[in-house]
């Protein structure tokens, strides 16, 4: 896949999934403590999220970093917007802002 195609794929993933987590490993087998921390936060909140293992393709994380302008993994997107990594998720979880964002993202809009 060309870099352009990967960028398009990322864009479609973050747009189409209310919560998208790019991580090392999988939610059941995280391969990094920081990725695990993010998974545990979402599991604690009991909300479903989509994830992708950046270790599956060695080039993928560099393209993701270029897309997001964020140098580390994990990366959490809510409704297409980069929220941050594990430090920010933990802080927003502790002050309740993450729960707000998640609620907005997972509640269907009503007219």
């Amino acid at each position: 896949m060309s870099k352009e195609e990967v960028l398009q794929e990322i864009e479609s993933e973050v747009e189409n999934n209310p919560i998208m987590v790019y991580m090392k490993g999988t939610p059941d087998f995280p391969q990094c403590g920081f990725s695990n921390r993010v998974v545990q936060i979402f599991k604690q909140m009991g909300v479903p999220f989509e994830s992708r293992n950046v270790l599956d393709d060695p080039n993928f994380r560099y393209i993701l970093q270029e897309y997001s302008d964020w140098p580390t993994i994990p990366q959490v997107f809510i409704h297409g917007e980069l929220i941050g990594g594990s430090d920010i998720c933990m802080e927003l979880y502790q002050n309740g802002e993450l729960q707000e964002k998640v609620k907005e993202a997972t509640t269907p809009a009503t007219d």
Binding site: W70, P71, T72, L82, I83, G84, G85, D87, I88
Partner: protein, 87 residues
């Protein structure tokens, strides 16, 4: 690996006058936690504050630095935080 003093110095250059703490989490000089208290964070989103701290280490993160945990505070938030810890 990167020396804690080098990290400290680079942060001081990026955030003149800020309170800066650099902690080597594992003693291996590649897993760091840094705390920066700066007026420059005033009115900025958390994600943008963290991007400002990452910026001087663009070359090193993912290479010589494996993990870089960040805590950012505006001077006001920092005072609140300190008071909470004392209580």
């Amino acid at each position: 690996m990167m020396e804690p003093d080098d990290i400290q110095q680079r942060l001081e250059e990026a955030f003149p006058g800020a309170t800066i703490e650099v902690e080597d989490l594992t003693g291996t000089k590649d897993h760091y936690q840094v705390t920066v208290v700066s007026e420059q964070f005033e009115g900025k989103k958390l994600i943008d504050q963290h991007k400002m701290v990452y910026a001087p280490f663009e070359e090193e993160i993912g290479g010589p630095i494996h993990a870089f945990s960040i805590k950012t505070y505006t001077p006001g938030k920092w005072d609140e935080q300190q008071e909470r810890q004392i209580q």
